[in-house]
Symmetry: C3
């Protein structure tokens, strides 16, 4: 009983693909493209107009794309100007401001707040309530856990915003803060509750407030578990190397570098 | 004018008790049991189907129970498979994923994110935006303040998830992070902004990042206030010992141990 | 297509000004005053009744005022008893409990949780998910960044609540926690991820967990940028000194002290 075509409003300029399901009480604004096989749940707003809408009678809504097979859960607000790749899924109440590019097979958690002018790669996991400031760049296979904030203003309030960069395969544990302009390299693990002031080299384990480099993550040992990082050799759920293994996948020409 | 029976959708397989009020724009899915005297406000989703719903045409929604006299505030999303005891109340926009058991007389704050396979006891206070990872166990009379995260993945991403346990009467102050598998004993106070790596014995005051044991909480003195912990002797609002006192209540056979 | 007068419910005792736009699926409760030129987006609840509403048949909703030219974005819940000045704007899903006074030209971010009995001044910027406990007082021109929590209970749970005070021009960076009763002076900068236990004198840069005084903010130098604080001399977007400069504005009799 989720899809009753009840109280749905779709702009005549929106394009709706085949096998699309739209939940009740959802609104699809002008110039939204919903590709085939997308599911949008209850009470979402897709293509929310930008500020200018409220004052400019000639306002034209930027194009918004929801990629094929994506699933947008209830109460999401996705502004105009977002381009979501295929098979993106979101939790409830996500907030995506304008001009973001979200790669394919990426998951955005409940209440994630993705501000504007942000690039997020493929196969990322952005958990609940993560807040990503404008101008951030996130690579592929990155996970960012609950309540992490990626900031962009070095001496607030200012106009000298500089986004963070989080490179491929990196994991940022819950409740961490990444300061403006910081580059966290590939294959890092940032411990929970860290405040990261400085660039972090590839393959680092860093933690603390302020965060300090603890060791090369490849030397990190868990009792009875061996060396868990890089993680791609031991974790494959939802990843493109699922069922074949990371090494075989890489050797098939998928070198992410 | 809150309850107008306007734009409400209730599954024919839902069971609605006596004196139940359902706010406008709310949806009640299959196999939800709303007990007597429950109030559900505007725009809630009760019994949200699990993932399989989207792909399996034979999907059957697990039973969901909202206990008698409970109050669910607006924009809540409660998945199928939650069992809420009597007199539970929630803030707005709470998110309860599947298979949780919430004890009676417990309060869940605005935007609290209770993930799945979680047990929360009776008379708990879970404040706004608290995030509780799967497999967590929370005792009775526990308060967890704003933005606390209880985690479960010791080397993310992994499949070796291990929930935290927070035992009876413990208070976890705002913005703390409890690391996977940590057991916080009974009658503890964890200071604001702590990151807790290790088990915490009963009656501890612990604080900091990383959290350190400060002292036995029974020795903690506040100028002009004496020894505020254990707190049950000085605070009774909403507790079962309200108006009779904790000692008398305990002596009447309510020993929580 | 945002304003279709669709599924809107407005109490007969609400007062709606001229040129007011109300989004679909929005509810305006008893005794709400919407001043002229206000925009309220989709699916908001304005004047949400207090707890007593559920049990007292003679309940009267306190007056709520949304000041002229304000913009309330979608899914906001604003309780009865809030007084918002002119030109306030909010993000999506803000939560304002009862009895707050919000000054003019102030911005409240997405999911900000403003509890009760709070005063916020003019020209403040309260970013996303900021949580402000009851009894807090915030001056003018204050910015509080994502996920900051202002607390009020010195030994939880207690009835001895004491709000924080954040004085004019101060900036509190992301993910900080301000402990109960702390006074942060004028023109301070609190670094990201700080936990502030003690009062902070005017013109301080403080940071860390626990927060320590680093220096007089007026001596803080950024390479190639000089001395960025006090910030009013270099930042004017949205401020009353926009286009004229802070000094000229102050000399015109606007001394905020």
């Amino acid at each position: 009983m989720m899809f009753n075509n009840h109280n749905i409003r779709v702009s005549p300029t929106a394009s709706i693909g085949k096998n699309v399901r739209i939940g009740d009480d959802t609104v699809i604004f002008d110039n939204v493209v919903i590709e085939d096989n997308v599911t949008i749940a209850h009470n979402c707003i897709i293509g929310e107009p930008l500020n200018e809408y409220y004052s400019n009678p000639d306002y034209i809504n930027p194009v918004t794309v929801i990629g094929t097979h994506s699933l947008i859960r209830s109460h999401a607000v996705i502004y105009a100007g977002n381009i979501l790749g295929e098979n993106v899924s979101t939790g409830h109440r996500v907030n995506l401001r304008e001009n973001n590019t979200i790669g394919h097979d990426t998951v955005l958690g409940t209440c994630a707040d993705i501000q504007c002018d942000i690039t997020i790669g493929n196969y990322c996991r952005i958990y609940n309530s993560v807040t990503i400031a404008p101008l951030t760049k996130i690579g592929n296979f990155v996970s960012i856990y609950a309540f992490v904030v990626l900031t962009n203003d070095p001496y607030p309030p200012s106009n000298d915003l500089i986004g963070c960069s989080i490179l491929d395969y990196t994991q940022i544990a819950a409740h961490s803060t990444i300061l403006p302009g910081v580059i966290v390299g590939k294959n890092c693990l940032i411990g929970a509750g860290s405040v990261v002031h400085n660039h972090i080299p590839d393959y680092s384990l860093a933690s603390g407030n302020p965060a300090k480099l603890i060791m090369d993550i490849r030397r990190f040992v868990v009792l009875g578990k061996g060396r868990p990082y890089p993680w791609m050799h031991r974790f494959e759920r939802g990843m493109p190397w699922e069922n074949i293994g990371y090494e075989k996948w890489m050797n098939s020409g998928n070198n992410a570098d």
